[in-house]
Amino acid sequence: MKNKIYFDNAATTWPKPICIKDSVDDYFNNVSVSPNRSYFSTNLVENTRTLACNYFKSDNVVFVPSATIGLNIIINSLLDKGDHVITTNIEHHAVYRTLSHVKKVKQINYDIANYFDQNQLQHIDEILNLINNKTKMIIINHASNVTGVISDIKSIKMAINRRILIVADVSQTCGIEDVSLDTLGADIIVSSTHKHLYGLPGLGFISYKNDIDFKPFICGGTGKNSALMEQPQKVPEVIEVGTMNIPALYAFQKSIEYCSTERRKKMRKHAKLLIDAFISGCSDNKLLKIYTNTNVKNVNSIISFNIAGLDPNFLVAPYLNSNGIIIRSGLHCAPLIHKTIGTYPHGTIRISTSYFNTIEEINYLINTINELRGWVN
């Protein structure tokens, strides 16, 4: 077994495919320019945008530094005083903290729907009952970064009988599921590129339908129209400011090629294989409680669990770490899902797999976890 077994792919994937590493080498050896700013600048950004639009079957893709920044831009740019937002109990702090802040500075209102129950079953009425005449936006995580359960966004879209923007955070599903706007039933999707797209950190994107007008939120240079003293109002310059993460954009072209429809199918099958092996391998460990419900639609690469009587942060996580197993413990920046599934305030141990994890690694994890039974006795 190698020195490090990496099971924190929901935070960022590792390792990356060789094509990504090669793209970084190629960038530093041969490309290294800042688009729009030098005489020798390339069409790198626009080429990447075209590839992304084709991949996500969208007319519009703009690039942002991360999914968190993307969500901040969406919330700040599209909402005005008095607007109402609905979100859910499976969101990440990229949504909760941003809404909380924008409520204070812009006087928007928002409600958090108990959309998922403790068994991760979905209750659309919890969202529909919160809609009022000021509701402008519903923000929903396509898959929980704690349990992996996938939201049925299309059903929400079909149940609403007026125009409300549906914003889907696809950070945990992009690259492994089909997240095109029409398939999902969303008006806007936002994601990073460094999770299941296997790209580099420091890059995300927003993909959206044609009739959405972003107002400036973060302002600065765009490499064009330098005589203009105000932020341009049209995309992409209304969103893409400052020097972009060019190596990550270059690598994103390779991500798109790597995460083809065919490979995504293989990734989903592989994820199911690993999660099934984990659940069956732990089935005789009566002290282990798994909070991921694989009987509902699930990304299958995320498993949250606890061992009765053992603190996940101070006992289980350090023990796994000392045995070369990298995981994440705690509340995972998503406190409300923990309150729903009953794991607040300590949180859970989260295993998140990638296409590069193996059955042997899962078996090693199971054996290491089973050693902890002796501690409880």
Partner: protein
């Protein structure tokens, strides 16, 4: 100074303060384990000292491999510092009464 210590914020909602730190000098494992048992109540020793735990209503202490420690759920940071100071006072022979 026998140890370094800093305040940390775990990704969980624990009461009170959490600190973590390292022992600066090498510890004599058996003597240290005897010290911990003499100074604290409810001591649990897992895997021959790989993890030593002591819990009370005022704190939880985890000592890892006689090198690294975490103290959680103290009311103040000073309470955590005082715990470590008294532990080392006993270990070094400067105090000999049961403190907790």
């Amino acid at each position: 100074m026998q140890y370094s210590l800093k305040v940390v914020t775990p990704c969980a909602d624990y009461d009170g303060f959490t600190v973590e730190g390292d022992f600066i000098n090498e510890i004599v494992a058996e003597k240290f384990l005897d010290t911990v048992k003499a100074v604290f109540e409810n001591v649990i020793n897992l895997l021959d000292g790989d993890i030593i735990i002591s819990k009370s209503s005022d704190y939880e202490i985890y000592i890892y491999d006689f090198k690294h420690f975490i103290i959680s759920k103290t009311k103040t940071v000073l309470d955590a510092v005082n715990l470590m100071d008294k532990l080392f006072d006993y270990y070094l022979g400067e105090k000999n009464e049961k403190i907790y």
